[in-house]
């Protein structure tokens, strides 16, 4: 009898920490592993772009315009004789930065607003969330078009527009996370021992809302990369000669009939990058959200 009891006891004691458990679940997910590998690869490529790319981002060779994929130029050359593979590799810096920066803008601004709304409630909540409702009533991409129109089409304004776009999105997620942990007893306890509101939010509320935020932020990076590329495709974002993938696609569109590779490969690059973020985001969600485990 004592053997069984000891075994049970040992099982209870060796309970994994949340991080260990999440990691264990995450690792079991093949998609998540593929996504992580892809992301590491893309990040390395972006960091080492000048080394990894066979040519510089703006090396023009007018003598070899519109070359189809070949041994010298694996993905072909464009209308100015630039190596497309090299431009895609250089462009990975732009797309990844756009994804991270815009998501960070949305996360920080939206997160703060959502945390304030959820934590304090009352009229602050009302004002902030009604404002978010209003912004959400305008379809996001179209709102970004309006902002870029007003601010002027360039890379910085593109990031601001897409970043602002993400604010209501994060505000809602964080508000509901905050609402769900606010009434927990340990938060009440922290209040009783005299912790300040700011301290409680930073120390207790945010860490507990961490899981949904991490998942949504990862998925959102993929979305913002597509939105930004779409705006650039319309000529409302990064302008040539920047090797932004959406802008490259837009340039390739003009030569679709004669140089299919110009439009094809930047699009595949976008797809692979977004796919990687989606795979990791899905993996994190499955690992972090015990409700969805089947």
């Amino acid at each position: 009898m004592s053997i069984t009891e000891n075994k049970t006891a040992a099982k209870i004691i060796r309970r994994r920490t949340r991080f260990e458990e999440t990691w264990r679940q995450f690792r079991k997910n093949q998609g998540a592993i593929v996504g992580t590998t892809l992301l590491v690869f893309l990040a390395t490529l972006a960091l080492a772009a000048p080394l990894a790319a066979p040519e510089g981002l703006d090396d023009q060779h007018l003598g070899r315009r519109f070359q189809p994929p070949s041994r010298e130029n694996i993905l072909g050359t464009d209308n100015l004789g630039r190596d497309i593979l090299s431009r895609i590799i250089h462009g990975s810096r732009l797309s990844l930065s756009i994804g991270f920066i815009t998501t960070s803008i949305g996360l920080v601004a939206g997160g703060s607003l959502g945390a304030i709304a959820g934590y304090y409630g009352g009229h602050r909540d009302q004002v902030i969330m009604r404002f978010m409702d209003i912004i959400l009533a305008i379809p996001g991409f179209i709102f970004a078009v309006a902002l870029v129109t007003a601010l002027g089409p360039n890379l910085l304004n593109l990031m601001i527009a897409v970043g602002l776009n993400s604010i209501p999105y994060f505000a809602r997620i964080i508000r509901s996370s905050v609402l769900s942990v606010k009434e927990e007893e340990y938060i009440q306890a922290a209040r009783v021992i005299g912790c300040s509101n700011g301290w409680i939010i930073a120390r207790h509320v945010i860490p507990n809302a961490f899981a949904p935020i991490l998942v949504q932020a990862t998925l959102r990076i993929g979305d913002t990369i597509i939105i930004a590329a779409g705006l650039s495709f319309l000529g409302l974002g990064a302008q040539p000669p920047l090797p932004e993938w959406g802008a490259m696609l837009s340039a390739g569109r003009q030569y679709l009939r004669d140089a299919w590779w110009m439009a094809t490969f930047p699009g595949i690059a976008i797809m692979i990058t977004v796919l990687a973020f989606n795979l990791v985001g899905d993996g994190l969600r499955d690992a972090l959200d015990p409700r969805l485990k089947s």
């Binding site: 009898m1 053997i3 069984t4 009891e5 049970t8």
Partner: protein
């Protein structure tokens, strides 16, 4: 003696998961005669619900699988029947009531319609007639027929369980399986539901398999009792035999752990120490051996067979091998 309505012989059910095989039911035998009520008692996790699902051919597969045995219903082995043949029996000749009435009804359909569904399916009644009969069935379980158009969320828990009972009885089944039908309900409602079940059992002349962890419930409604522990039936007998003179150390422990209003003041309850073994790692011998106060060396080596110390009773315990029936 006529052949039992239901005979379960050496039934095995396993669940295969990533972490190993859980042996949920390990060779159980029992039978139910026409008009009889068998109480199946045991702790949570003893394999009672799996047994019930196996009778209906509803063990979720994967991961579950019936790995051996026979289930004879009216003399025919259900395990050899096709899916279609089984469906013709389910809800028609064999019905079930699940534990939680709050979640047993589809929230999007009116109660009457959910009852009528059985009738249109098994008795080919036209929809209107089926609905009318559904109303009659509701009245039979004490709900006005006029409420047949109400949705589940408009009923209380006890009333939902009545709806479920009406649904189970719609096609005059020969066997009703009630899996913890009162566990999720308040005590006063529990008594009402048991009362209804007992009445209807008489009216419909059905056999009842009453599954419960609550010895009181079983004592109240059952004719015979089977005690289940870690996938085995460790003791069977009439209600009087099992409750008055329990033989298996587990049954004895179970009864001792109940509060007794006639016990002398100050006497404390005697819980069984330890926990039920993990179904993934069942002991080689008797599965109760690790917790048994009267464990013998043989218990840890071999699984005990069934002994019959008295007429009409079986006990899976080596104690009765040694003494020929008297401990």
């Amino acid at each position: 003696m006529e052949r039992p309505l239901l005979e379960v012989q050496d039934l095995h059910v396993h669940y295969k998961t990533d972490d190993g095989t859980a042996r949920a039911v390990n060779g159980i035998d029992f039978s139910i005669h026409r008009g009889e009520t068998l109480g199946l008692v045991g702790e949570t996790g003893a394999g009672k619900t799996t047994t019930a699902l196996a009778l209906l051919g509803l063990v979720p597969h994967p991961p579950g699988k019936i790995t051996g045995g026979r289930i004879l219903f009216q003399g025919e082995n259900l395990l050899e029947k096709s899916g279609k043949e089984l469906r013709r029996l389910r809800g028609n000749r064999i019905s079930i009531i699940f534990q939680d009435p709050m979640t047993s009804l589809n929230p999007l359909f009116p109660a009457g319609k959910q009852i009528a569904e059985n009738l249109t399916l098994h008795q080919n009644l036209p929809p209107r007639e089926a609905l009318k009969k559904a109303g009659e069935l509701l009245a039979r379980v004490g709900i006005p027929a006029s409420r047949s158009g109400n949705y589940p969320h408009e009923f209380s828990g006890g009333m939902k369980q009545r709806v479920v009972i009406a649904m189970a009885l719609a096609c005059n089944p020969a066997l009703l399986i009630a899996d913890e039908p009162t566990t999720a309900l308040d005590v006063t409602i529990q008594a009402q539901i048991l009362e209804i079940l007992r009445d209807l059992k008489e009216d419909f002349g059905l056999s009842l398999l009453m599954i419960s962890h609550d010895l009181g419930v079983v004592a109240e409604v059952a004719d015979r009792v089977a005690v289940m522990y870690a996938g085995d039936i460790v003791e069977t007998g009439s209600v009087g035999q099992v409750f008055e003179e329990p033989r298996h150390p587990y049954t004895i422990g179970l009864l001792n752990s109940l509060p007794d209003i006639d016990a002398p003041r100050g006497e404390s309850l005697q819980p069984i120490t330890g926990l039920m073994p993990d179904p993934m790692e069942l002991p080689r011998g008797c599965s109760f051996a690790p917790r048994c106060p009267r464990v013998m060396p043989v218990c840890e080596e071999q699984k005990p067979p069934v002994f019959s110390p008295d007429q009409g009773r079986g006990v899976r315990c080596f104690l009765y091998h040694q003494t020929g029936g008297q401990p």
